[in-house]
Point group: C2
Chain length 234, copies 2
DNA sequence: CAGTGGTCTAGACCACTAA
DNA sequence: TAGTGGTCTAGACCACTGA
């Protein structure tokens, strides 16, 4: 093998391991040497090799099991990180001029939403519907249901000047998100709001946010069909 | 503050920091103590605190700058990891019986695709079109263009029994992916293949895979509109 | 230019689990 | 039960960069 000429940092170790996998020195499914042996070969501390392998495992490149060792993963890295920024920033990045308009604010109960949020069918919800514009063209419809038992302070907020999304990011940081993404046909109402034809394809993101297994909010974000979500993965 | 009763591991440190952010002991935008001070408070090694903070920074919860210190991030963690598995596994997870059928295999040049792949307009491409079924219902259309200059060995493969996707994962591991995701209306041809009505909404994933800035393949994966992509994020 | 985070080291103990 | 990865420690040097 190569004399491990200048491998010093954990990222060097990562790069060298990636090189060997790409060059099929270690093929998919194959075991690779244990941390101690690699550390000896690369003349570095085991900690350094450990960090390299740990990060490769997080990225899905290798699979690690105690006692069984480390292997090149079978289905490497098919997962991607999509960045879903605040709409404000999304619009600003186009670039376009951002504008926000609240359409609806009401307190109600909704059986279907409550079910999704795992709440009692008659749980009190604050329902907000709003439009986000880019350069005066409708960009996204945000429909939001807030669990008032969990976030009572939402009662005090009009959401006239700040979107529920932005408010929640400030007010209730660090919630866990469940996200679903799918294509749908625009209903008459949605089509009107997005200024497209009824039955046009739209892209929908549905999200429920949780804190400690309690649902805080549910959101349905509708985009025109031509809206593209991008991601890059190493 | 709390006497830092039983904080021993880096994940305890993470949890405690998250707790303090959620409890607004440290509000969004605020600086938090440096690693040495935290290590003293938690009575652990700085390395332990470092790992906790590093992972929180990777997750977007905090922002770190040398000399300037660590702060609670302004727009915390709006990014998600979507897992896009091999179709085979996706179908098996439903669960349904997976079947594959190749529709087209041809060598051609395509200006638009070549442009996307940053190749010469007349670059030779291998074009594969195939259908993935779940329980005999069309599940996904895979259209694939392979850069034959980069992957000449694809000429030898019929893709009759193995999908381009599965073949590529084995043959060309570790490529970088660019992904785009959007909603569209089914063309007559696509509708027929997916056994849906023309103009129905479909979900499209387009992906280009790269190795060292050279495009290897481009893929267009079309799903019925009701197909949902899910993700969870801490 | 001083203080912060970034990383490496060498050694140790532990938890898990496959052989 | 032996071998692997998982983690902690204490100390050190370095790179960056904002006060």
């Amino acid at each position: 093998m190569s004399p491990a000429s200048r491998i010093k940092s954990y990222s060097d170790v990562k790069a060298e391991i990636l090189r060997r996998i790409a060059a099929k020195v270690w093929a998919v499914g194959d075991p690779i040497p244990n941390e101690e042996d690699l550390a000896r070969e690369f003349q570095c501390a085991r900690t350094t090799v450990n960090r390299a392998l740990r990060e490769l495992a997080e990225a899905g490149i290798v699979e690690r099991k105690r006692r069984a060792g480390t292997r090149v993963a079978e289905a490497p890295a098919q997962d991607m990180r999509f960045k879903i920024p605040l709409v404000e920033d999304e619009v600003a990045a186009i670039p376009a001029c951002y504008r926000y308009r609240r359409l609806i604010r009401e307190t109600l109960s909704d059986e279907a939403i409550a079910h999704t949020m795992k709440l009692a069918p008659d749980a009190p919800l604050l329902h907000i519907c709003a439009l986000h514009y880019g350069d005066d063209a409708p960009f996204q419809i945000e429909e939001r249901w807030i669990n008032l038992s969990a976030i009572p302070q939402a009662r005090e907020e009009s959401f006239q000047d700040i979107s529920a999304n932005a408010w929640l990011v400030r007010e209730v940081p660090l919630s866990r998100l469940d996200t679903q993404l799918y294509a749908s046909a625009a209903s008459a109402e949605i089509a009107k709001r997005l200024a497209i034809k009824a039955q046009s394809p739209i892209l929908v993101i549905e999200r429920t946010t949780w804190r400690a297994d309690q649902a805080l909010t549910h959101a349905k974000l509708s985009y025109r069909g031509d809206h593209k979500i991008s991601a890059t993965s190493a």
